[in-house]
Symmetry: C2
Subunit: 300 residues, 2 copies
Amino acid sequence: MTGKATPLLAEAIRDIGTDVAALFDALLPVPEDPRARLVEAMRYALLGGGKRLRPLLVTATAALYGVDRSAALRVGCAIEAIHVYSLVHDDLPCMDDDALRHGKATTHLAFDEATAVLAGDALHDFAFEILADPVTSGDPFVRAELIQVLATASGWNGMAGGQMMDMVAETTTFDLHTITKLQQLKTGALLGASVELGAVLGRVPQEGRAHLRGYARDIGLAFQIADDLLDHEGDAEKAGKAVGKDAAAGKATFVSLLGPDRARDQARMLVDQAIAHLGQHGAEADLLRDLARFIVERDH
Amino acid sequence: MTGKATPLLAEAIRDIGTDVAALFDALLPVPEDPRARLVEAMRYALLGGGKRLRPLLVTATAALYGVDRSAALRVGCAIEAIHVYSLVHDDLPCMDDDALRHGKATTHLAFDEATAVLAGDALHDFAFEILADPVTSGDPFVRAELIQVLATASGWNGMAGGQMMDMVAETTTFDLHTITKLQQLKTGALLGASVELGAVLGRVPQEGRAHLRGYARDIGLAFQIADDLLDHEGDAEKAGKAVGKDAAAGKATFVSLLGPDRARDQARMLVDQAIAHLGQHGAEADLLRDLARFIVERDH
């Protein structure tokens, strides 16, 4: 994730990558007993790379409200742990059956299937352990709200619900409305939660978060359209994972429904709209603006 | 779970079964969209029976401190959702590959493997969603502490860690010390958390919970020894699941290490010890006492 990033964004991406890896490393030491293999699998999945887009959204949003970076990083690691657990389970043979993730062997191939199921489950808990820890926020109201936002975004009414719709999409032809709903859940719920968690840390009340939710909804859809376009153009080396799978599975995507040109226009329109939602903020929101633009311009 | 239960316990078991099922039913309506299949699988697993031992421990402990039953029931449902998600994943072909659970087809056979993975994941979130909801407790400090206790009990340093040790036990011969540690994590962590959650609801400070932790630790081990004995005696119909699997896998258990007679003695000693921990409580703890005795006398 370098390429067309502005200097501001490129620096933020470097920093979040370093900081997230260091914090995961510190939070999850390998125990010296037979659980070592489980924690090694969790670390393998957590430290395997990835753009750390969700932690970056948390820290960039929290920074708008002057939140201490170390608290925002912990919350970023929590949502990244949820994202990573979902990838570990998604890659399983009974799900997408993928061999590569970020250019490395998927967890069930590097370890074994049972360990991958368990490592995903333990990462799922790890996320909530981080949020529930008083170190994350001394205010229990903030901790409880962080957890409520994350659990809802990840469960049946969020990411997991979107994944179920995605499975149904293999045997049913969805229209654009249903594909939009699917993607708003499958990818959008966690991206939206990232921004929302930053606002919770900043003690922004519900009614003050509408513009952030709008921003997150728009970049979430733009992100998915960009993903579909990358999958359609199909460069597995850049993507670090298998590509062209949706078309092979006959699954409807934004690209199959709109065609690549209209899909690209739609993504750009969504980015403009996302940036417009940030109108009330000054230069302190430039990182979120750059990130929105980058999402559709990235080449992996 | 009737048989040798006292009238007090038999009534409590009937009530908790009814109340837990009714609350799950109310908390998890089936949505009218392609996520229906996911929620149906979650409901299939949740409403498939089971002794509801963990919710009973929550409500019985909470009752010691005069906690409102409806709050304790919600917390009981949360920990039961964690227990049920772990069973759904445990039964998967790559894990224990079981076909029966509570005398019914396991979730991956009633639905499919991918849906079972996803339903387990969504149940995992569902548990934290229930706890994070202000309806469970108006006090955010209580909500945050409930979540911290449950996430820790369920993750790598609790249940999931014990499951990993159990997998390692298939290829390594553990001694009694390591088997005890394994079982304290695999089964004991959630049973201990059930009692602890009841105490959190009752606003019992950490230092006032030592006797409850002692009670939970002892009944947890007694429960596992009783389970090993049932597995050793091997009546699949009563158990509602496959039996004799540990011996077939050459896995060390309390029964293989101690022999059935000493194992039975050990379980009874643990029950006496568990009951002794409740000495500071009067008749209001009779349900917890009856439950401790029942755990080693049950026939399934």
